[in-house]
Symmetry: C2
Subunit: 370 residues, 2 copies
């Protein structure tokens, strides 16, 4: 499936892929405008999408149909759709980490696709478990095909990810497969903790628990993506671990911001109904921080989370989380996690120019709403 790796679109479009060069990247001190990250993500999609489509095309009809719907390539009736397969942050981290450590980006396209397949397998399953009905502005797969088919398509995508790596002749593919499999186990444990927490009372969940859950559920795969990029660049173990830690901390920052978006984000941009996380009484990071604040607003919030919503209840809940400091806490935690991420990155990639792409991606995920 991945045996003939030609020069990818990503390589061809980027003059930066010439050996020994890492530019043209802005120095990290320059004001952030998101342009570089947008370019990286666009180039990632251009190189990884064909690999993903090739992989999905190997599935039997029944599984392919569900996968193509989930990726936004087809409507439920099988007709072609414009496609909105997500931002491709995880595959971008694989390719950019590989490049930061001197690897050939094109060699890691299969690994990048494998990480994206794992991400999408978890989305398919999480949506079933969480009964989420909307994903990327469209009805979730289980609402269209039923629980069984969404579970099966997720299972097939996990297998496909491992098949891509097992058939990849790159010397790092075995280590990458082991690392990705270990990451899936961590993702499962994180999702378990998440669903188990939802059954507990608002005051029975600590901030440490919810941060650990977010690291397992979100940080682990972003860390794994960076570690796979490092493995494909032939990096030593210390650098692979530093890249993993960079991705984990950036992932935690990402989750903190994502939870902020889940409450205060613009539904037309997020694709989720406004305040959906609050309506579902989710113990997201800003909510747990707010509940733990000991403020009068925390008591209001606890009360609001206990009772069924009344008219105007959503607005009052949003306000209570904000007044109890949940939003400020989440944003400052995100900044703290980003600082730790930078520290890990500079350990493995001391040259700021070489680190530029990863920095840009980390900035992108944590600043995308401000």
């Amino acid at each position: 499936m991945t045996e003939s790796k030609q020069s990818t679109t990503l390589d061809r479009q980027s003059p930066a892929s010439a050996p020994g060069r890492h530019g043209p990247l802005p120095a990290p001190a320059e004001p952030y405008d998101g342009h570089e990250a947008a370019v990286i993500l666009e180039r990632t999609r251009a190189s990884v999408d064909p690999e993903l489509r090739r992989a999905i095309d190997t599935l039997p009809d029944s599984m392919r149909r569900i996968a193509r719907y989930h990726f936004g390539w087809e409507h439920a009736d099988g007709s072609p759709a414009a496609g909105n397969a997500g931002k491709a942050i995880r595959p971008a981290l694989v390719l950019t980490a590989s490049r930061a450590l001197g690897g050939r980006q094109s060699a890691a396209v299969g690994a990048a696709a494998a990480v994206e397949l794992v991400h999408n397998f978890t989305l398919l399953h999480d949506d079933v478990m969480d009964r989420d009905t909307t994903r990327r502005h469209r009805p979730t797969a289980w609402t269209v095909f039923g629980d069984a088919d969404a579970i099966l398509a997720g299972d097939a995508l996990q297998a496909l990810a491992q098949r891509l790596l097992a058939e990849d002749p790159h010397p790092a593919s075995g280590a990458a497969a082991a690392r990705l499999a270990a990451c899936v186990v961590e993702l499962c444990a994180g999702q378990h903790t998440d669903t188990a927490m939802e059954r507990r009372g608002p005051h029975e969940v600590t901030l440490d628990e919810v941060l650990a859950m977010a690291e397992a559920k979100t940080g682990a795969l972003l860390g794994c993506a960076c570690a796979l990029g490092a493995l494909y660049a032939g990096a030593d173990e210390a650098d692979v671990e530093a890249l993993d830690a960079f991705g984990r901390q950036a992932g935690l920052a990402f989750q903190l911001i994502d939870d902020v978006i889940g409450i205060w984000g613009d539904p037309s941009r997020t694709g989720k109904p406004a305040g959906a996380d609050l309506m579902a009484r989710k113990k997201s990071l800003p909510v747990v921080a707010a509940l733990a604040s000991g403020t009068p607003a925390a008591a209001d919030l606890a009360e609001l989370y206990r009772e069924p919503y009344e008219e105007g209840g959503l607005e009052r809940t949003v306000l209570a989380v904000e007044q109890a400091g949940g939003r400020d806490w989440a944003q400052s935690q995100a900044a703290d996690r980003m600082a730790r991420a930078m520290q890990e990155l500079s350990r493995a990639v001391p040259d700021p120019e070489a680190a530029g792409g990863l920095l840009a991606l980390a900035e992108f995920v944590t600043r995308r709403t401000t």
Copy 2:
């Protein structure tokens, strides 16, 4: 996880594992008494169970608890249980196929455990989808831990299977991982077809469809188990494919017999309520054959399958399947599939003595009720 492969219990107990020997096996012409298969299965459990337990022990607490319950090693409250982790037919096929082609059995123990993990991942998920409440005489995992945890534990077992292979230094482990991943995709498609068929009317399903479904859902993994054994023995491609075909045909025979047991089996031995497949209106192989028979009993059966059960309905349905020839058809089909399996086996392993173990296992799965 599998880096230090010591001599296994299976090797230590069996004088037959000395290089260049395949005995002490009865010649295939001897009357079948199930003894040899029982010995192989017992030895397989003795060598593969510790590997499985080691692998499961690497899981985080939450996932390990569900997995240990599912394997029958723990009660729901976490206290130790006597354990009934299944017959270990699939891992026995891996080890026995490897030995039949001159491989060292102990080298394939990790691969055998990986196949068993995949089998159990599919059981966990299938039970959720099929709403089956009993497995191996115990409540299924989803009835104890909920759907979400059963799905997650299944996901984790699939990942663990791939991790075992990715960390296995054996030269065949990469090819085995690719083959096992491809097999998982086929299993998913088979389960999809199975659940989709249940939504169709009794006369809208053909025998060919239901046979193809059974090959994907059951034959594929038994074929894969044999193929992995061949890969670990360093067999050439033709022999790997012949062993896969042997396992597929034996698997189809197994499924035919399993469906017979699902209707006429002794609940105290099967661990399933009597006639559960009929109560659930499953379009199992004997039922579809009976419906397609054009006999008066077929018309009775179609009528019984359309209406809610009345008093005595189960007994009348069992009788109708039998009178319409469903049982005879399934048993003769099973014999036919076994003949094809033998043909494939003799292609790859012409020496009857070397093929003895695989023959004994194939006989075991198809004769275990007669």
